[in-house]
Amino acid sequence: MIPAQFDYVAPTSVADAVAALSEAGEDAKVLAGGQSLIPVLRLRLSYPSVLVDLRRVSELRGVREDGNELVIGAMTRHADVITDPLVRQYAALVAEAAGTVADPAVRHRGTFGGALAHADPAGDLAAVALALDAQLVAEGPGGRRSIAAADFFVDYLQTALSPDEVLVEVRLPKLEGQWGVHYEKFNRTAQAWAIVGVAAAVRQENGSIVDARVGLTNMSSTPVRASAVEAALRGTSADGRSIAAAAEHAAEGTNAPSDLAGASDYREHLARILTRRAVSAAAGV
C-alpha cells in the first residue's frame, strides 16, 4: 500500500527541526528511521501533514560518555548501538535488547530514540530504558529538558514529548562492576514483537543480590517496572530458589493487554517465568 501525501523537511540541526515542528503544528510527525512509521503510513493508519526527517541532524547520532553517564544520541541506529564498544561496556542490556529488535535490515534503519519515542509497549527498548532509569532529553522551543523514563512513557504510543519537541539523546547511568544483565524475549516467531519481554540487571556482592532493575515489555499500555520483584531480590542470595520466589511478584502492578498475541493471564504467567529466567541469567545462576 501507499502512503497519503505529506510535506517533507530535512533540517540539519535540532533547532531547525524544532522550528519545523512548531511551524507545522500537531499534524507533523518526526521521521527517525521510519521502520515503524512508514508501515503505518503505508497502511494509511496515520495522515501527517509534514514529516520532519532527522537524518541530516548529525548531532543526534553517536554514543559518548559524560561522567557517570552514557549518552546515546536519539538517531543512533540499532545496528550501531549493538556494536558500540561503550554501550557494550556500560549498557550491555541495551545492546542485548537492541539485538532482538525485528531483524537485521530493520536494525540498519531503526533508531534508538525513534523506538523510544514511538512508545510501543511491545517494543523491546522501552522496558530497558525504564529499568535502567534512563533520562530522556528533549528539545523544544523553550530549550532542553530531561524526562525520567518513568515519566516519559505515558500511554500506548504516547509519550511526554509535546508535538514540537524532538528527542535528542538518552542518558543512562553507567552500569559497571558486578552488574549482570539479560533481556529475555518471548515471541512466537523470530521477527515477531515480544508477547512479553523482561529486561533484568542485577548487582551481586558476595553471593547476594544487592541491587536489581527489572523492566517488563508488553505488560501494560506502557513499559512497566517490576518494582516488587526488585524489592524482593534486594538482599537475597543469588540462588535459583530465591530468584524464583522474587519472580513470583512479576505481574504485580501490571495491566497486561489481551490481544492476538496472548491474553492477559497468560502474559502475567509469562512475566513470572521470564523474569525468573532473565534474573537468573543476569545473575549467572
Binding site: 494509511r44 521477527q191 515477531a192
Partner: protein
C-alpha cells in the same frame, strides 16, 4: 542430522534402486540432480513478474473494498474521485454490472448446490471484508490509491455470519438472503458395510472434533494482472500472476462474452501459488472489462494486506470423526462429518475441496465400513478454495490424529496400530474402501527407513526419562503415515465428480533444424522447475544434450492447450504427456532413419540419441541430423509430412498415490507452552524421480507449510467478521529461524499407472507434516491428561491446556491412557 548421514542414505537408496538412474531410453538424464535452468534470471533480478510489465499508456486500477463483513450498499458516489487530477475513470459495481458477468465456480458438487451470484464488484450487498465495491483508474498507482479515498459509499450494516454452526442454526442471519439458507450443499458418501452395524461390533470407539483453522496461502508474489487491449479489434492480452492461464482464458471468455480466440493469456514469471492463484478472480475480470471500455492498458497489483482479504483462504473445516476398532487394534469403521466454510461466495473450486478430501480419510488403512458427509456453509468471510493439498491435508490430519488417539485408547504403540491396519505391500494393487485403486506402495519400507533415520528407540528412552524426572522440557513423538491422490486426474473420474473440466495435459515437441528442441507444455510453472525437469525428460528420451532443450509454458499463444498446474499433477500428467510426445518423435524419426540408411525399419535401433542399423554399427544417424534432414525434406519416405514435431494430449488412467512416513519429535517448554521441533524425519515414496534436487526442495517447502499450519498460522475473524490477522505483523509466517533442519529420505516404489513410474511431490510434505507435528505435541502432553489441541498449537494454547483454571496440571508420570474400554471417548483436555 548430519549431512553425512543423508549422503549415506541416498547412496544406499541408489544401490538399492539402480534403475532409478537409468532411463527408459537409456539417456541417463532421469534421476539426475540438474541445477535449474530457471535460476539464472531469478538470482540476477531479470525476472518478468506481472508487476514488472509496463506498456505505453498504462493505467493503474485500484479496488475500493468493503470495510464491513456484511452490509447493504445504499449508495456509491465516485464523482469526487473523478474530479481528481490524473483519475481517468471510476466505476461502482452498478456501473459495471452489465459487463462484468459473474465469477465462475466450476465444481457444482451436487445438483442442488446453492450457487449464489458472485459479481466481480458488489452491486447491492457486500458479504465479506474486502469485497470489491468500486474501482478507480488513474495514471499511476499513487493517484489511484488516493482516489479510492475520494469515493464515498453509504452502507446499511447487516449482521455478520462468522461461525459455521451458528450459520446453520434456525434463525441465523443469511449471507445470501435470496437463497433462504446458509447451507451450500450436503455431499454424502458411504462405502463398505453398514456403518452402524459395524460400529456395534467394535470394542473401542473414539471420537474427536478437529478444527482445520483457516489459513492464508501467502504466495510471496502478490497477485497482479495487466491487460493490453487492441480495442479496435476487440482483442486482449491478459498478463496474470496465475497458475492457470489456459483455464483463465476459457473462463474470461465465458464471463465477459469476449471471444475466446480474441483473448491471449500469459502467465509471466509467477512467484508461487500454492493454490491461491488457481482461480478466476474479480480483478482479472475487472481489468479486462475496464481495458475494453477505455481502450487503454490496465494494471492492477495487489498489496499484501489487500490480498489477505481478496485472495482465497485455505482449509477452514470442522471435522467430526469417529473410528471404531477391535481391542486388538483392527479398524472396523470410520465416520466423518465435515462442515466446510465456503466463505461468502464460491470461487473456482471452493465446494470441491472438501470433496477431494472425502476419498482420503481412509488413507492407507483397511476397514469394513466408511461413511462420510460434508456440508458446505456460507459465512461472511473471504471465500476459501484450494490451498496446497486441497482437502487431502485436512483428511490426513483427521485420520492420523485419531489413529494416535485410538492407539492411546488401546494402550498400543501408534506405529504398531498403523502396521496392523495398513495395506501390505504384497496387496497392491489395492482397491480402497472408497473405490480408488492404489496402484503401488510399500508402507513397510518407508516406515522402516524413517524409524531408522529417526532413532526412535533413543528418543522414546529420552522421553521416558524426561517424564520420569518431571523435566520442564517434555518430549513428544508424532507419527504420520499418509497417502494422497495426485495427478488430477482421469477426465472421466472428474466428470463423475461434477468437476467442470478434464484432467488431461498437452505437450508438443518441436525439432528445430539445428537439432535444438522446443518443448511446449500446458503445465504452467510458478516455482516448481518445470523447465529443468521437462528438459531432462526430453533429453533423456531423445538423447539430445540437456542444454539443447528449451521449454515453453504459460502463454496461450505459444502453448495453446493445457490444464495448468495444481494438485501435484504437472509431472504425473504433463510430464508423462511430454514423455509420450517424445515417443512419437522417435517413431517417426526411426522411419526416416530407416529410409536414409536404407534399412528395414525393424532393424533400426535407437540409443543415446542415435539411430543405427542392427549388425552395421557404422550406419547411423543422430536424431538431430534427422531433424535437419526433415527440415530440408529432400529425401523423405514417399508421402511423409516434412516435420518431426509431435503433439500428445495425455489423459491419465488413474490417480497416483504417493505415500510416506513422517516422524517428528518436539520439545515442549511446559512453563511457557513453547513448542520447538527437535527432529523431523520424513521418508517419502513418490515413485521414480526426475530430479532429486527439485524433489528435495518440494519436500522441504511442503514441510514448512504443513508445520506452519500446525504451529504458527491462523486467519482469525472477530465476531463482527473483521480479519484481525490482516497483515504479516499478525499472521505469522515462519522464518528460517523458526523452522528446523529436515532429514529427508526416499523409498521408490514406481507408479504402475504411467510409463515414467512417477507419482508427484508438490503436496506430500504439506499433507503429512501437520499431523506429525500435532501428534508429537499431544504425545508430549498426554501424561498431563491432555489428548487434543487445536491448531495452531501456540504456546498459549499449550499453556492453557496445562493450566486449566490457572492451576498447573501434574503429570501422572506414566502415559495416562488406560486399557481397552468399550466406552466412547471424546477429545479435549480430560
Amino acid at each position: 542430522m548430519t549431512e553425512e548421514l543423508d549422503a549415506g542414505m541416498l547412496a544406499t537408496e541408489i544401490a538399492e534402486h539402480p534403475d532409478a538412474l537409468s532411463a527408459p531410453y537409456g539417456g541417463g538424464e532421469l534421476g539426475r540432480g540438474r541445477r535449474r535452468k530457471e535460476d539464472a534470471k531469478l538470482v540476477t533480478g531479470q525476472t518478468n513478474w506481472t508487476d514488472n510489465i509496463t506498456l505505453p499508456g498504462l493505467l493503474h486500477m485500484a479496488v475500493l473494498r468493503s470495510p464491513m463483513a456484511h452490509a447493504r450498499i445504499v449508495s456509491v458516489d465516485v464523482s469526487a474521485a473523478l474530479e481528481m487530477p490524473g483519475v481517468i475513470a471510476a466505476y461502482s459495481g452498478a456501473d459495471l454490472a452489465a459487463e462484468d458477468g459473474a465469477l465462475p465456480c466450476a465444481w457444482p458438487v451436487t445438483p442442488d448446490m446453492v450457487h449464489p451470484d458472485h459479481k466481480p464488484l458488489a452491486v447491492d450487498e457486500v458479504r465479506h471484508v474486502g469485497d470489491g465495491v468500486a474501482v478507480v483508474i488513474a495514471r499511476d498507482r499513487y493517484t489511484a490509491a488516493d482516489a479510492l479515498e475520494a469515493i464515498s459509499v453509504e452502507y446499511d450494516q447487516l449482521p455478520a455470519v462468522v461461525d459455521m454452526e451458528a450459520a446453520l442454526a434456525e434463525g441465523s442471519p443469511l449471507v445470501h438472503s435470496d437463497k433462504g439458507t446458509n447451507k451450500c450443499f450436503t455431499w454424502p458418501f458411504a462405502a463398505g458395510d453398514d456403518y452402524e452395524a459395524t460400529r456395534a461390533k467394535a470394542d473401542v470407539v473414539v471420537t474427536r472434533r478437529f478444527r482445520q483453522q483457516r489459513v492464508l496461502p501467502t504466495a510471496m508474489e502478490p497477485r497482479g494482472v495487466v491487460v493490453a487491449p487492441i480495442a479496435a479489434a476487440d482483442e486482449y492480452t491478459v498478463y496474470s500472476a496465475t497458475q492457470i492461464p489456459h483455464i483463465l482464458r476459457v473462463m474470461l471468455a465465458l464471463v465477459t462474452g469476449i471471444g475466446e480466440h480474441k483473448i491471449r493469456v500469459i502467465a509471466p514469471d509467477v512467484g508461487g501459488g500454492f493454490g491461491s492463484k488457481l482461480n478466476v478472480y474479480a480483478e482479472e475480470v475487472l481489468a479486462l472489462v475496464v481495458a475494453r471500455k477505455l481502450g487503454r492498458p490496465i494494471k492492477w497489483t495487489e498489496s499484501r494486506s489487500e490480498g489477505y482479504q481478496a485472495t482465497i483462504h485455505g482449509r477452514d473445516q470442522i471435522q467430526d470423526i469417529e473410528v471404531s476398532a477391535t481391542k486388538d487394534g483392527k479398524l472396523l469403521g470410520l465416520k466423518v462429518e465435515l462442515l466446510a466454510d465456503m466463505g461468502a461466495y464460491l470461487q473456482l473450486v471452493t465446494p470441491g475441496v472438501p470433496i477431494l478430501g472425502a476419498f482420503m480419510f481412509p488413507s492407507i488403512y483397511k476397514m469394513d465400513s466408511y461413511t462420510f458427509s460434508c456440508t458446505g456453509v456460507f459465512t461472511t468471510k473471504t471465500p476459501t478454495d484450494a490451498y496446497r493439498g486441497a482437502g487431502r491435508p485436512e483428511a490426513t490430519y483427521a485420520i492420523e490424529r485419531i489413529m494416535d488417539e485410538l492407539a492411546a485408547e488401546l494402550g498400543m504403540d501408534p506405529l504398531e496400530l498403523r502396521r496392523r491396519n495398513w495395506i501390505k505391500h504384497e496387496e497392491f494393487p489395492f482397491d480402497s474402501i472408497c473405490g480408488l485403486t492404489y496402484d503401488s506402495g510399500n508402507y513397510e519400507a518407508a516406515t522402516a527407513k524413517a524409524e531408522q533415520m529417526f532413532d526412535m528407540t533413543a528418543l522414546r528412552r529420552e522421553q521416558a526419562e524426561r517424564r520420569e524426572r518431571k523435566d520442564p522440557i517434555q518430549l513428544g513423538i508424532g507419527i504420520s503415515t499418509f497417502t494422497e491422490m495426485c495427478g488430477l486426474a482421469p477426465s472421466r473420474v472428474l466428470g463423475s465428480l461434477s468437476y467442470g473440466a478434464g484432467g488431461w495435459e498437452a505437450a508438443q515437441i518441436r525439432m528445430l533444424p539445428t537439432g535444438k528442441v522446443e518443448v511446449v507444455s500446458g503445465a504452467t510453472p510458478h516455482g516448481q522447475g518445470h523447465h529443468t525437469s521437462w528438459s531432462q525428460i526430453v533429453a533423456d528420451a531423445l538423447g539430445v544434450p540437456f542444454e539443447d532443450v528449451e521449454v515453453i509454458t504459460g502463454d496461450t499463444d505459444s502453448s495453446p492447450k493445457g490444464m495448468d498446474t495444481y494438485g501435484s499433477r504437472s509431472l504425473v500428467v504433463g510430464g508423462v504427456a511430454i514423455h509420450k510426445a517424445t515417443g512419437k518423435v522417435i517413431e517417426k524419426a526411426r522411419r526416416i532413419a530407416a529410409h536414409l540408411l536404407e534399412a528395414a525399419e525393424g532393424d533400426v535401433e535407437f540409443h543415446g540419441g542415435t539411430f543405427s542399423v542392427k549388425g552395421s554399427p557404422e550406419a547411423k544417424l543422430s536424431i538431430q541430423e534427422i531433424a535437419l534432414a526433415t527440415f530440408a525434406a529432400h529425401n523423405l519416405p514417399d508421402g511423409m509430412e516434412p516435420t518431426l514435431d509431435s503433439d500428445y494430449v495425455y489423459d491419465p488412467e488413474n490417480f497416483s498415490f504417493p505415500h510416506g512416513t513422517h516422524l517428528c519429535a518436539v520439545e515442549i517448554d511446559t512453563e511457557t507452552g513453547f513448542t520447538k521441533i527437535r527432529k523431523y524425519v520424513c521418508v517419502d515414496d513418490i515413485g521414480k524421480i526426475i530430479n532429486p534436487v527439485i524433489v528435495e526442495g518440494q519436500v522441504h517447502g511442503g514441510l514448512a507449510q504443513g508445520i506452519a499450519q500446525a504451529l504458527y498460522e491462523e486467519a482469525i475473524y472477530d465476531a463482527e467478521g473483521n480479519l484481525t490477522t490482516g497483515t504479516m505483523v499478525d499472521y505469522l509466517i515462519p522464518s528460517a529461524a523458526d523452522l528446523p533442519h529436515f532429514d529427508t529420505g526416499r523409498t521408490e516404489t514406481p507408479a504402475t499407472s504411467n510409463p515414467l513410474g512417477v507419482k508427484g511431490v508438490g503436496e506430500a510434505g504439506t499433507i503429512a507434516s501437520t499431523p506429525a507435528v500435532v501428534n508429537a505435541v499431544v504425545d508430549a502432553l498426554r501424561p498431563f491428561g491432555i489428548n487434543d489441541i487445536d491448531m495452531p498449537a501456540s504456546p498459549e494454547r499449550v499453556w492453557r491446556l496445562l493450566h486449566p483454571g490457572g492451576q498447573r496440571r501434574e503429570a501422572s508420570g506414566t502415559v495416562a491412557y488406560g486399557g481397552v474400554s468399550t466406552s466412547t471417548t471424546s477429545g479435549g483436555a480430560a
